[in-house]
């Protein structure tokens, strides 16, 4: 009986074979990564760290797109947090980080001390960190954007977490915050509550706008969420050079971050055309916001979003390519 069953299956298989269907490896379109053969040897593999936020993803997607299409590189994307990505410079697992926010401590360690990383110039994006409220609050309480009036509104921001003080929602843990020191040194009647993740911050602001619930918290731009909800920044005492030198005595706003690119020393010395591309890469906040919007709101895959932007901006891309 078993034999008959086997024969049956084998027969069925033969029929299927007869019917055919495309065989693996037959259709050239089924094979990815062979698009720009020829020039591939010159570039080789580019190991791109992908830090976990959409703006970064936008930078990386466009660079990867150009590297693959124009230079014939093989791009390997690695999803990593910043700290881990920087470690990768030393171990040779990461070639480039293409949107870096400050991180002076990491620069000191990996660029100055270990000498495994080098600076590859600015991305052209400007990073802003500060305290924000939802637009309805700024409309209803116009003077709230001045820090000196914050104590007047502290009552509004009381929650189950902050006791008898106003709640200042903090804490995407990836960034250094001076907020506890700021609250103390500006004598604000607030308590810092650690939301703990970007998802938590965004959800809180979303609820704030939808239910007209007062929320004040730490945020930053460029960030895709700002195209959904234009948060309004609070003006803290203006930043001056060195006013944040002593972390315990900070009483001024956060500095403007000139976002930059970091690459591994090995990669910089390799003479790869991909290094020249990354070094030359620069664009505006509007450019990044557009690609980030494709990814976050239009739910495109990063590669699709990059291809769409690249098709509309050939002139900009041309300026990044190595001249030879």
């Amino acid at each position: 009986m078993a034999i008959r069953r086997i024969a049956l299956v084998a027969g069925a298989a033969l029929i299927l074979t007869g019917c055919g269907g495309a065989k693996v490896g037959e259709a050239p379109s089924a094979a990815p990564g062979t698009g720009a053969a020829g020039s591939g040897a010159a570039c080789g593999t580019l190991n791109l760290a992908i830090n976990p936020w959409v703006g970064y993803e936008a930078n990386a997607a466009v660079i990867a797109h150009v590297a693959e299409k124009n230079l014939g590189c093989t791009v390997v994307k690695k999803d990593l947090k910043e700290e881990v990505a920087w470690q990768g410079f030393g171990t040779g697992e990461v070639d480039a980080v293409v949107e870096n926010w400050g991180h002076d401590d990491l620069k000191k360690k990996y660029i100055e001390e270990q000498k495994t990383a080098v600076d590859a110039g600015l991305t052209g994006n400007k990073g802003v960190i500060g305290w924000y409220v939802a637009p309805w609050m700024a409309a209803k309480y116009p003077d709230i954007t001045d820090w000196q009036n914050l104590n007047k509104y502290a009552e509004l921001f009381k929650t189950s977490e902050s006791g008898d003080k106003g709640q200042l929602l903090d804490g995407d843990p990836s960034f250094v915050t001076n907020d506890e020191a700021l609250v103390k040194n500006l004598k604000l009647d607030y308590k810092v509550v650690y939301a703990g993740s970007e998802a938590a911050l965004i959800t809180a602001f979303r609820q704030s706008e939808k239910e007209q619930k007062p929320v004040i918290g730490y945020f930053y731009e460029p960030q895709w969420f700002l195209s959904e909800l234009k948060l309004v920044k609070i003006n803290l005492p203006a930043y001056t050079d060195g006013c944040d030198a002593d972390a315990a005595k900070v009483a001024c706003d956060y500095p403007l971050y000139e976002l930059d690119k970091i690459v591994s020393k090995r990669f910089a010395d390799s003479g790869s055309p991909a290094y020249t591309l990354i070094k030359n890469f620069t664009w505006t906040n509007d450019d990044q916001n557009l690609v980030a919007k494709y990814i976050s709101e239009d739910k495109m895959a990063p590669a699709e979003a990059a291809a769409k932007w690249a098709a509309d901006n050939e002139a900009k891309i041309k300026a990044w390519l190595p001249t030879s």
């Binding site: 078993a2 065989k23 690695k78 972390a247 976050s296």
Partner: protein, 659 residues
């Protein structure tokens, strides 16, 4: 005589505990806010800075130290190649082909054949349905990546864990040594060792495999050791009297008898490995975890749910398959060979033959290699999940605030104020006294050492805030556990309906449901408590239900015929007789809640959870993150030992009383 003194002493102890609590509350009222040892978010102690420096030293010497060159690097190579090999088989383009060796049809056929041969036809059908659904959700490749990593990690975990488990089962000395190590491995938050792992084993499959193994090996060792110990001494003596050597008795008596329980260990190892899929994705582990994390960046609940669903389905399939395998082993042992060797051989040939043919097809033809993209229902699942989440957030928002405030003001804040707002020495004294009263001298010593360690780590106040939230969450878990556990234990229909829900609660990555509950409760400590309850309640419910079901039917019948109402049967017969299971549920519930402390830190719990998360993200806080991880381990060990000592004591008292 003994019975008399013990029962006479019992109320006295209860009064003593009351007195300690009263003194504590009074002291808190008088001294609130003094000596609370706070430490700000960005502040460090010398210990934390020292840990930073030690870290740097390791980093700097990585390439020159022979330990790394000749030991760590080889482990990394072997693990990397193993994962890549499995990936080449089922998930990644390999050997110059644009697709893996085995296409979807081959994987489905092979999985069905294996589950049929080791389990039964029902599990095989479930496996087919489950695996096909990965493709239907549009996540075939990602699912296979997760499967490849999980299977490799499980294989190595068992290769290491089962021999160690046998050793721990045979040697009391080794068992005593290994138990605290296993406790450490299971309660240390993964976030703490994730970044250092990539220093040792680089970014890649090896680090992800090791991270998974650290969490998945302990159940393999524990359950194997338990299985070996469980073998009845009478059987062993019979073997010994026949002249069996120690090795013979292990091979022919202990191992065969322990086999069924060891399969349970395999099951738990698989579940533990799968639960690491999302966290391992933080260091570039391939698979479904990445999809979940990516979706979280844009708060795309639908996409996160879709990938989470695939993880749940994989967990359910692997769980049912290994459970069926263990039942089969048990049935065979009890009845001897149930089927003839000839029939079995035919069965094996046919199953493997069909699988081989289908595998060949999937090797050769595109339609059998790449899951057809037209059959993708993932977008419907995503939209449905989005709609459901929006509906929940819109329609429940009014009610949830009231609930949050009730628990926060009524339960959490008083607890927290008592623990974190009292002077440390008062909490210390009260804690040790309570441990002594409920658990005895050893429990008191453990508590004293543990609390001292928390002070030494520089994180006293954060630890107390976390402890308060943990205790509240455990109370809620037990309330749910007893209510739902009794229901499930008494009704098979409730069991059939609720069990898949419980499985989903345990295996759905927390990241998936964090966003909707954040929408409901905002970033608060209560949100963290809810997340912990979702994860921990299923275990407690299952354990209580198991206990209720273990009460002899005759006893229940006797109570019923004596005229007891259902309520009386539950409270006077079933729950008291399932006391051991309820205590175990409380202990496990507590440990599970603690394992969610870090996830809580992501949604507003602050304290130790946030310290760990920040330590993973910020270079200068890494030492503090490490200390916070250790503090969580200390809390876990103290709570575990004290509750177990208390449980052992009530068991003893119960036995004496029943005498």
């Amino acid at each position: 005589m003994t019975a008399l003194t013990v029962t006479a002493r019992l109320p006295a102890r209860r009064y003593l505990i009351g007195a300690v609590l009263a003194a504590w509350v009074l002291g808190h009222a008088l001294l609130s806010g003094r000596d609370t040892l706070p430490l700000g978010g960005a502040e460090l102690t010398p210990l934390h800075e020292g840990a930073n420096e030690a870290w740097d030293t390791v980093d700097d010497n990585r390439n020159s130290n022979p330990f790394f060159l000749y030991f760590v690097n080889y482990i990394r190579l072997v693990l990397d190649e193993s994962v890549r090999f499995v990936q080449a088989l089922i998930s990644q383009p390999s050997f110059g082909r644009p697709v893996p060796l085995l296409g979807w049809l081959g994987v489905v056929a092979l999985a069905a054949a294996i589950t049929y041969l080791f389990g039964n036809i029902r599990v095989a059908l479930l496996t087919v349905a489950g695996f096909v659904s990965f493709g239907l959700l549009g996540l075939w490749a990602e699912s296979m990546d997760t499967l490849a990593l999980t299977l490799t990690a499980v294989a190595y975990s068992l290769a290491v864990g089962i021999p160690l488990g046998v050793w721990a089962g045979l040697s009391d000395r080794f068992n005593r040594f290994v138990t605290p190590v296993l406790d450490f491995m299971q309660t240390m938050p993964t976030f703490v060792y994730l970044a250092p792992l990539t220093l040792f084993f680089l970014i890649g499959p090896a680090s992800a495999t090791i991270a998974t193994m650290i969490y998945a090996i302990p159940p393999a060792i524990r359950i194997t050791a338990h299985a070996i110990r469980e073998v009845s001494p009478v059987t062993l003596e019979a073997g010994a009297s026949l002249g069996a050597t120690a090795a013979q008795s292990l091979r022919h008596v202990r191992l065969p008898l322990a086999r069924r329980t060891i399969v349970v260990g395999v099951n738990q190892t698989i579940m533990a490995a799968l639960s690491m899929a999302t966290i391992a994705a933080l260091i570039d582990a391939p698979g479904l975890g990445k999809t979940v994390l990516k979706a979280l960046q844009t708060l795309d609940i639908g996409a996160a749910f879709n990938a989470g669903l695939a993880i749940v389905i994989m967990a359910v399939v692997l769980d049912r398959a290994t459970t069926a395998a263990s039942r089969r082993v048990e049935a065979q042992r009890r009845t001897g060979r149930e089927i003839s060797a000839f029939f079995r051989r035919v069965e094996v040939t046919v199953a493997l033959g069909i699988a081989a043919v289908l595998s060949y097809l999937s090797y050769t033809y595109v339609w059998a290699a790449v899951f057809p993209a037209e059959a993708n229902i993932g977008s419907y699942v995503r939209r449905a999940a989005d709609a459901a989440s929006a509906w929940v957030q819109d329609s429940l928002a009014g009610f949830t605030d009231a609930l949050k405030n009730l628990v926060t003001y009524g339960l959490l804040n008083p607890f927290e104020s008592l623990l974190a707002g009292s002077p440390w020495w008062l909490v210390f004294a009260a804690g040790v006294a309570i441990a002594a009263l409920v658990g005895g001298v050893r429990a008191a010593i453990t508590a004293a050492v543990g609390l001292a360690a928390l002070i030494g780590l520089g994180l006293w106040q954060d630890s107390m805030v976390t402890l308060a939230a943990t205790l509240v969450a455990t109370l809620l878990v037990m309330a749910l556990g007893v209510a739902a556990g009794v229901w499930i234990g008494r009704s098979d229909r409730a069991d059939a309906v609720l069990r898949p829900v419980l499985d989903a609660g345990q295996t759905m990555p927390a990241f998936v449901y964090l966003v909707p509950i954040l929408g409901l409760f905002g970033p608060t400590r209560f949100t963290a408590i809810i997340a912990a309850v979702v994860f921990a309640a299923p275990v407690a419910i299952k354990l209580v239900a198991e206990g209720i079901r273990g009460v002899p039917a005759t006893t229940v019948e006797a109570a019923r015929s004596a005229g007891s109402s259902p309520w009386q049967v539950i409270t006077k017969v079933q729950l008291p007789m399932a006391r051991g299971a309820v205590a175990l549920a409380a202990n496990q519930g507590l440990i599970y809640v603690l394992s969610m402390v870090v996830v809580g830190g992501l949604v507003g719990a602050g304290a130790l959870g946030y310290d760990v998360v920040a330590g993973f993200s910020q270079h200068q806080l890494r030492g503090k993150g490490l200390a916070a991880g250790l503090a969580i381990v200390v809390l876990g060990i103290v709570l575990d030992r004290v509750t177990r000592a208390a449980q052992a004591r009530t068991d003893r008292l119960g036995v004496i009383k029943e005498d």
